[in-house]
Structures are given as structure tokens and as C-alpha cells.
């Protein structure tokens, strides 16, 4: 363990433990998932960074959105994201979740992901190489240290707006709201 970080560990041990043990939910959206097998296997060995893929969203706290998001996948993404326990972080890969990328005029691909679920960080590129994933993750560590990776807090706070956006796209949603609306 790094001696400089002892202060941080003593101050907030649960945050530090979360930070160094990202459990990534196995969820393939689009083409970017092709970068995940080399990342988690021996060549780049993501376990050095404490990243390990897990089978269910209930065990996970990091969600990698790998590539374009079609409307059908978005429904599954929302449900998976809502099942993950807090604190949870989202990283979106590539150009497509930012503004649609090469699918800017597609009839079936959503254009910006952060209208529907909160995104903590983007890795630009098409597709980002495994090194870029590690840069993204180490940057997320810094954001967690500064309490700026607050996507799940924003989701809790602005849930009614996120839900309104989701309903504007899909019409009726066939699952109940995650949080009760406050104020209204």
C-alpha cells in the first residue's frame, strides 16, 4: 500500500475500498465490448487496477457502456443501472454515447446517453484502446477522491427528470419508478 494514502484510508476506508475494487457488470452494448476481453485477460490484466467482471448487476459498481446504444439496449441499460447498489459509476466508451457518432442520423440509436442515465466519464475514440480504459479508470479514482463522481447522487436527486426523458422516448415504461418523486 502506498504510504501517502494512509491518511485517506483512515479518513474514509469504505470509499477507498470501493475505489480500488471496481466490479464491472458483464453487459455488452455495441461494438466496444471487443476491447474488454484483452483488457481483462493476461495481456493488459485489468486486475492490477482492481477491475474484475462480475455476472450480475447486484454485485457490480462500475458500468461500462461500450459503444452505441440502440433504443432496445437502452431499456436494458436503465434496468441494469437501477439494479446496481450504490455507490455506482458509469463510464461511456467511444463517440457514440456522446453525440451519436457515426449513427447521428440512425432511426434506432439514441444520440446522447446522459439524457437518460447519468454518466461519470467519457472515453473518447472509436474504439478506445485498453490503455485508454485504464487512463479513464485512474481518472475516475481522482474524481472519486474529490467527490466529483456523483452520478448516482444526481440520479437520485433528479430522478423525476430522468424518468420524464425515458418516458418521452419509450412512452409508458413497464416498471415502477425507482425513487418516489419529491416536491411534486
Amino acid at each position: 500500500m502506498d504510504r501517502n494514502q494512509i491518511g485517506k484510508w483512515l479518513k474514509n476506508p469504505s470509499k477507498m475500498a470501493n475505489k480500488y475494487s471496481f466490479h464491472v457488470v458483464y453487459f455488452c452494448t455495441g461494438c466496444g465490448i471487443i476491447e474488454i476481453p484483452p483488457t481483462i485477460t493476461a495481456r493488459w490484466d485489468a486486475e492490477r487496477f482492481g477491475i474484475i467482471p462480475v455476472a450480475t448487476p447486484r454485485q457490480a459498481n462500475l458500468f461500462l457502456i461500450t459503444g452505441y446504444v440502440s433504443t432496445k439496449t437502452l431499456k436494458a441499460i436503465i434496468r441494469t443501472y437501477e439494479q446496481m447498489p450504490e455507490p455506482k459509476y458509469t463510464i461511456a466508451f467511444g463517440s457514440c454515447p456522446i453525440n451519436g457518432g457515426m449513427y447521428y442520423d440512425s432511426y434506432n440509436t439514441i444520440k446522447s446517453l446522459d439524457k437518460y442515465i447519468p454518466v461519470d466519464g467519457y472515453i473518447a475514440g472509436c474504439m478506445p484502446r485498453p490503455e485508454a480504459i485504464f487512463i479513464g479508470v485512474t481518472h475516475l479514482w481522482k474524481l472519486i477522491d474529490m467527490d466529483k463522481a456523483d452520478g448516482y447522487k444526481r440520479y437520485r436527486e433528479d430522478y423525476e427528470f430522468y424518468r420524464e426523458n425515458q418516458e418521452q422516448l419509450f412512452g409508458e415504461l413497464n416498471w415502477p419508478p425507482l425513487f418516489k418523486n419529491k416536491g411534486s
Partner: protein
């Protein structure tokens, strides 16, 4: 391949057949003869339906259905790996109220292809047991693979109209004050 062409033409006389490569035969058929041609070719060891595809010729106001047939190795005596033969059957149907007869009775694996064409082009296949949605989540006024479906306009009217979370917040704040 020339022998096969003669053989087919001796039975069906209203076809246009041309061979573009050694192993690829194109058949332009009228829509009435397609079913009998398919069942004839199936008995003639071309028993694998690779794909049903569709072209939208909007200027002629016609759809062009494309059936791609090939042979499994076991039944074909003349089959060699070098000359793997494909037969491509094209037929045209009118674009207005497009409908055609299903080929499930001949090739069972046609079912998902026809469902897809129904969803993406709006072609109704008569006799198909379930023409339910296959891929798409949302509903579209015009089936999205048709040429007159304006994707950029659709994106602007649907995905473009959804505000960001910040805009929604500001709108709500303005409403209250």
C-alpha cells in the same frame, strides 16, 4: 451451369437467366412463377435458402425481393468445393400495399427473414403465422428501411426534441417562479 440453365428454361419459359460468374446464376422471375421455381429448385438439390432480401426501387414504385439459394454438399453429386453454386432469384412486386405469398411451406427458415422484411419494409406475407415485431422497440409511421423514410428529420423530431436534464431543471424552475 449452362446445363442447369437449359434444364430450367425447358420447364419455365418466361424467365430471364444470365450467368455473371461461373458459379452464380441470376434469375429474373415474374412473381407468379417464383413459388413453383423455388420448389422445383429445392427438389433439384438447391435446398438451402440463404437469405431473403429486398430492394426498394422507389422510382419504379416497386420492391424487388431477392432469394438466394445454394446447395448442401451431401446431395449434390457434381458438387466440388471450387464451384460452389448460388442461384439468385429476383422478383418485383408493386410498392403500394406491398404483399407477397410466404415461402415457409417450401423453406421453413424463411420465417424470420419474412418477419424482418415485414418490419423494415412493410411487406405483408400472406400465410405467415406471426408477423410480430422482431428487432425494433419503437413504432414508426413509415417502415424505416423504405427510401421515403427521412432519417434526419425523424432524428430531429424525436431524439432532438428530448431536452437535457439541465434544461428540464431550468424549465421547472421557471414554471414555479
Amino acid at each position: 451451369m449452362e446445363e442447369l440453365k437449359k434444364k430450367i428454361l425447358s420447364i419455365f419459359n418466361d424467365l430471364e437467366i444470365y450467368i455473371r460468374r461461373d458459379n452464380r446464376m441470376f434469375v429474373n422471375a415474374r412473381k407468379e412463377t417464383v413459388l413453383s421455381l423455388l420448389s422445383y429448385l429445392k427438389n433439384l438439390w438447391y435446398d438451402h435458402l440463404g437469405l431473403i432480401s429486398c430492394n426498394d426501387w422507389i422510382d419504379d414504385s416497386e420492391f424487388e425481393l431477392v432469394y438466394i439459394l445454394s446447395a448442401y454438399m451431401a446431395k449434390d453429386e457434381e458438387y466440388q468445393e471450387k464451384e460452389k453454386r448460388n442461384i439468385i432469384i429476383k422478383t418485383r412486386i408493386p410498392r403500394q400495399k406491398a404483399k407477397f405469398i410466404t415461402v415457409i411451406d417450401i423453406f421453413k427458415n424463411a420465417e424470420p427473414y419474412e418477419r424482418e422484411l415485414h418490419e423494415m419494409f412493410g411487406i405483408k406475407f400472406e400465410g405467415h403465422p406471426r408477423l410480430t415485431p422482431l428487432f425494433l422497440e419503437l413504432e414508426y409511421d413509415i417502415p424505416p428501411f423504405r427510401k421515403d423514410f427521412d432519417t434526419e428529420k425523424y432524428v430531429e423530431n424525436n431524439y432532438g426534441q428530448i431536452p437535457t436534464i439541465k434544461e428540464r431543471k431550468n424549465n421547472k424552475r421557471n414554471e414555479r417562479t
